[in-house]
């Protein structure tokens, strides 16, 4: 039976019309899991999340229950929850669907998480360009406030003494704001420079207070876990990375879009069955399985690759945000990489040396590669630059630029070799001068 015919559970995006409306959400059992949470001790909830095996959906797959347990107990300082909806990595567009189709599930997750960690203020940080979805979430939050589901009145609605304020914050439009500590600075109104860690946000976060940062999808899973029980949730999909995943599929496929499936399905089946295969029945040259910063996989190495954290690790890649980008046999890989590195160069915040200087250098060399003004040696240079960035930076944007460079060149080297020359014919003797646009004119002038 092909994947598209199977009836996978739709836990995050159930096929219910108008679920984004509060009345519809409540008619389908909405906010009852928060009510259930109130009957439990905060510690029990964290244990339940630990038992579920839930891992963060923001890219690093960090175990969510463990992250929550890092928050200091007690109320001597205010604590904060930040919901990371910056979603700016090329190929990632799954949180947008939650905002659009099921925002109250996320809000309910926020309430439960807040109750579990003793947090009374949450900031939903949404990507600046997501104008429409900011509005939807704002409306959902307002509706929930009006209904007494958030804010001081929630004590009357649900009983108990816990209450939570939720603030929707629109980003100003930079990829780096998705990096969790950069997000904190951005929230505070500062330049979104990632912070040097330690201290970690659980100790010193937004406004210097203990803070937990979770991805939108991560929190949307929380009410589901309370409904099913952690034990049952942990049985969905791959053992070490359980639950359903929202996979955003783009590129050369017939039916791009976001698909909710259990983790651990074969990547090829996802592409061919769910996404309808490659247009024109062309062969796949390569796939990036988790948003553009994750290592690329060759088309001829896709057989048997499973779509979950461990499966992709075994295949030499990582799941990231689950954004699958499919490239058919006609794709110009060096051009693709050049475009991709242009993005990271443009988005590097410029704080630390290797990424600030390295990303621009990568793009410049890749531009020469793409336009046929490079040699094989330049390919080795690119890999070396990438290696020099990797591991030496303040935040993971360094790796986000280094990985695609290194893996794309080493795994698909023939694509690059086809575009470079054995030697460069320099218009003037000096190599640096030769690469200046004017050098060609100079050379022409001399020969005339």
């Amino acid at each position: 039976m092909s994947l598209s015919e199977q009836n996978f559970p739709k836990l995050i995006i159930p096929p219910i019309e108008n679920l984004h409306r509060l009345d519809v959400y409540r008619a389908n059992g909405g906010y009852e899991m928060y009510r259930k949470a109130l009957t439990m001790q905060p510690g029990e909830i964290i244990d339940e999340v630990k038992r579920s095996g839930l891992r963060g959906r923001g890219g690093a797959c960090f175990p969510t229950g463990l992250k929550w347990s890092f928050m200091p107990k007690g109320n001597d300082k205010p604590k904060y929850l930040c919901i990371n909806g910056d979603e700016s990595e090329p190929g990632s567009f799954k949180d947008r669907l939650i905002f659009e189709a099921n925002p109250h599930l996320m809000i309910e997750g926020i309430l439960i998480a807040g109750y579990a960690m003793g947090i009374h203020t949450a900031f939903i940080y949404i990507r600046g360009e997501y104008h429409r979805w900011v509005r939807i979430v704002e409306e959902a939050v307002e509706e929930a406030y009006a209904a007494g589901l958030i804010g001081p009145r929630m004590k009357e609605t649900f009983g108990g003494s816990y209450s939570m304020e939720i603030v929707v914050h629109k980003g100003a439009g930079a990829y780096i704001c998705g990096e969790e500590t950069s997000l904190l600075n951005s929230l505070e109104g500062d330049r979104p420079y990632p912070r040097v860690k330690p201290p970690f946000p659980a100790n010193v976060g937004v406004y210097g207070m203990p803070t937990t940062i979770n991805n939108v999808e991560t929190l949307a899973n929380v009410p589901v876990i309370l409904r099913m029980g952690g034990e049952a949730y942990s049985k969905i999909g791959a053992e070490k990375h359980p639950g359903t995943l929202l996979l955003g599929i783009s590129g050369h496929v017939n039916r791009p879009g976001v698909y909710e499936v259990p983790s651990g399905l074969p990547l090829l089946d996802i592409i061919n069955d769910l996404a309808g295969g490659v247009p024109g029945g062309k062969a796949i040259k390569a796939v990036i399985p988790g948003g553009t910063s994750m290592p690329i996989i060759r088309g001829d190495a896709l057989e048997g690759v499973m779509m979950d954290a461990e499966g992709l690790k075994a295949a030499g890649s990582a799941i990231g945000t689950g954004g699958i980008i499919v490239m058919d046999e006609d794709t110009d890989i060096p051009h693709m990489l050049r475009r991709l590195i242009h993005f990271y160069h443009h988005e590097s915040c410029g704080q630390c040396t290797p990424c600030r200087e390295g990303c621009g250098w990568l793009e410049k060399v890749l531009t020469r590669v793409d336009t046929g003004e490079a040699t094989s040696e330049d390919l080795d240079l690119l890999v070396d630059i990438a290696n020099n960035i990797e591991g030496n930076t303040i935040c993971a944007l360094g790796e986000a630029a280094a990985w695609p460079t290194r893996f794309t060149i080493t795994r698909l080297r023939e694509e690059f070799e086809a575009k470079v020359k054995p030697t460069l014919s320099l218009p003037v003797l000096n190599r640096v001068h030769s690469l200046r646009p004017s050098a060609h004119e100079e050379a022409a002038a001399v020969s005339n």
């Binding site: 330049r191 704080q351 990303c359």
Partner: protein
């Protein structure tokens, strides 16, 4: 106390310290750009990457707290490779305009490129271009291309200058420094960013393009701008002071000095000096020899009774000079009339370094005896005496008495007005004899600061008088310059420290004091004056200042961080 191992050396250090501090304190210099001990940690240059055993990634030494049992490698293959990578990244877009850069010769980027960089560049693209002449304020110029985005200047403005006007703008390799709209960097400590900028991105608009540092000598001195007594280095070329800069002393000024001190305390050394002893002949001054001037003064003093003679010491002069003056007044002339002029400006004081007393040595002058005893006249009485004709001879040390019309008129009636002067002042204009006096930059001696810290300093500018000792004390390795060395050129002025002038006067009167150096006076002070007891110049240098009364138990100065390592080191630094 955690015990850690750095490059095989076992080190015990206070907990909570960063690895880089623990290393520096133990003589291991982890290369770094952005870290500065007085500023918050930014961790952005990545130059200080080190390997920690059992940690997969390299860690930055400036932001990793020491932990018991930590094993740190600062020089193994992996670290060396990472450092080389950082240097390569820093240099690809750097303009490499060292030949016209003020920082060249004392630039961390140069030093580290030499020490940790590759020989040849692998970068054959077009460099990013940025603005090269951006005034950040009245005193500081910014060159965007030289900037390595270490954020030291931003953190300084926020945390020390307490004027948060600097920020990064743009992103990626377009990042640059700017001031917020409508603001400029003009706090009284702004120019310290020029010193702490590890490259030539921030330059002093006053000094810009004036000299190459290797053509200059840098000798230790004390800023005479106020009673803080900030430790400074005096940068000299062709025997002319081109700039002052702070010298680290954690007991006095930490790493800083104020801009008024930096800009205000050297131009009067270079310009409009009294060139030779001057003797008034009727309405005009005539240059005279030193001996002639001494004779003239002595002859006049002999005609007067001691009670008709008054001395005004100077809080601008050294302890030794004031000591000599007080000794001359009491033992040679036999008058108890001696006092000091206060120079207080409460508007100058702030809560960092600057204090209201605009002289460097009020406490020292007082301690060595420039104060009237019971029978003597205090300043007000001396002035009144001059005005009413009871005082017939007045002897003024360096730049001390503000002269109003009444006083000017009274000066005209004096039998003798002797003034020690660096430049012509209203008091000097009225004098019968002017002695050209050495400024702080031309003499050796001690100042006692507002907190009672006794500090020793040496000359930085050569005069005919100090030439002999200066040869030995020049900071430069090539200090015995030949005629064709440009730095040896320049005029040697004929100025003398007050103790020498006063000693010569005493000698004319038959008192043979026999002081050869300022140090001889200090030895005598250390024997005779209790608060100076047991102190020596050597001790003052070693401890970077000793508090009055603590000559027997001076406070150690602890670890001293010098941002510009390759600057020619001073004698004191060599010895400590």
């Amino acid at each position: 106390m955690p015990t850690i191992t750095i490059d095989g050396k076992v080190i015990e250090c206070a907990s909570g310290k960063m690895i880089i501090e623990a290393a520096l304190e133990n003589g291991i210099d982890v290369p770094h750009f952005c870290w500065h001990p007085a500023l918050s940690v930014s961790g952005n240059c990545r130059m200080c990457l080190v390997e920690l055993e059992k940690t997969p990634k390299l860690a930055i030494a400036c932001s990793t707290v020491v932990a018991d049992g930590q094993v740190v490698h600062t020089n193994n293959e992996r670290v060396v490779k990472a450092r080389e990578a950082i240097m390569e990244f820093l240099l690809i877009n750097h303009p490499l305009d060292c030949p016209i850069c003020d920082e060249a010769g004392q630039c961390k980027l140069q030093d580290y490129a030499f020490e940790h960089g590759r020989t040849a560049s692998r970068f054959s693209e077009m460099k990013e271009h940025k603005d090269k002449r951006v005034p950040l304020g009245p005193e500081v110029m910014f060159d965007g291309e030289r900037c390595i985005s270490c954020s030291r200047c931003i953190r300084f403005a926020d945390e020390i200058g307490e004027q948060p006007v600097l920020t990064f703008v743009n992103r990626g390799d377009h990042v640059t420094i700017d001031t917020f709209p409508g603001t400029q960097l003009d706090n009284p400590y702004a120019m310290n960013v020029v010193d702490i900028c590890p490259v030539g991105a921030l330059t002093s608009r006053d000094f810009r393009f004036k000299a190459r540092v290797w053509d200059m000598s840098f000798n230790d001195s004390i800023c005479p701008g106020c009673a803080r007594g900030c430790n400074i280095q005096v940068g000299v070329r062709n025997n002319e002071i081109l700039r002052l800069e702070p010298r680290t002393n954690m007991k006095v000024n930490e790493y800083w000095m104020c801009d008024p001190g930096r800009l205000g305390e050297f131009k009067y050394v270079n310009e409009d000096r009294v060139a030779a002893p001057m003797v008034r002949e009727a309405e005009r001054f005539a240059e005279s020899s030193w001996d002639e001037a001494y004779q003239r003064v002595t002859a006049k003093l002999r005609t007067l009774r001691p009670a008709e003679i008054a001395f005004v010491g100077s809080a601008y002069a050294t302890c030794e000079e004031n000591y000599a003056l007080a000794k001359f007044a009491r033992e040679v002339v036999g008058t108890p009339n001696i006092d000091l002029v206060p120079h207080s400006d409460p508007s100058f004081a702030d809560n960092r370094l600057r204090v209201a007393d605009r002289t460097p040595n009020t406490r020292g002058a007082r301690e060595v005896g420039v104060a009237p005893d019971k029978s003597g006249l205090a300043l007000d009485a001396i002035i009144a005496g001059v005005i009413h004709g009871r005082i017939k001879a007045l002897y003024l040390l360096d730049h001390t008495l503000p002269v109003n019309d009444e006083l000017a008129a009274a000066f005209a009636k004096l039998d003798l007005l002797v003034v020690h002067a660096w430049n012509m002042t209203p008091a000097a204009e009225a004098a019968h004899v002017i002695f050209p006096a050495s400024t702080y930059a031309e003499k050796e001696g001690t100042f006692v600061n507002v907190n009672g810290m006794v500090q020793h300093f040496i000359p930085a500018v050569v005069t005919r008088e100090n030439e002999r000792i200066m040869g030995m004390r020049m900071s430069r390795l090539d200090r015995f310059g030949a005629e064709n060395d440009r730095w040896t050129h320049g005029r040697r002025r004929d100025a003398r420290p007050a103790w020498q002038i006063v000693q010569s006067l005493a000698k004319v009167s038959g008192f043979n004091w026999g002081y050869g150096w300022s140090e001889d006076l200090f030895e005598e002070m250390a024997r005779k004056i209790a608060p100076f007891r047991s102190m020596t110049y050597e001790m003052l240098d070693t401890y970077r200042g000793v508090e009055l009364g603590r000559g027997d138990r001076p406070t150690p100065h602890g670890f001293t961080y010098v941002a510009h390592d390759l600057r020619p080191q001073t004698l004191a630094e060599h010895e400590v």
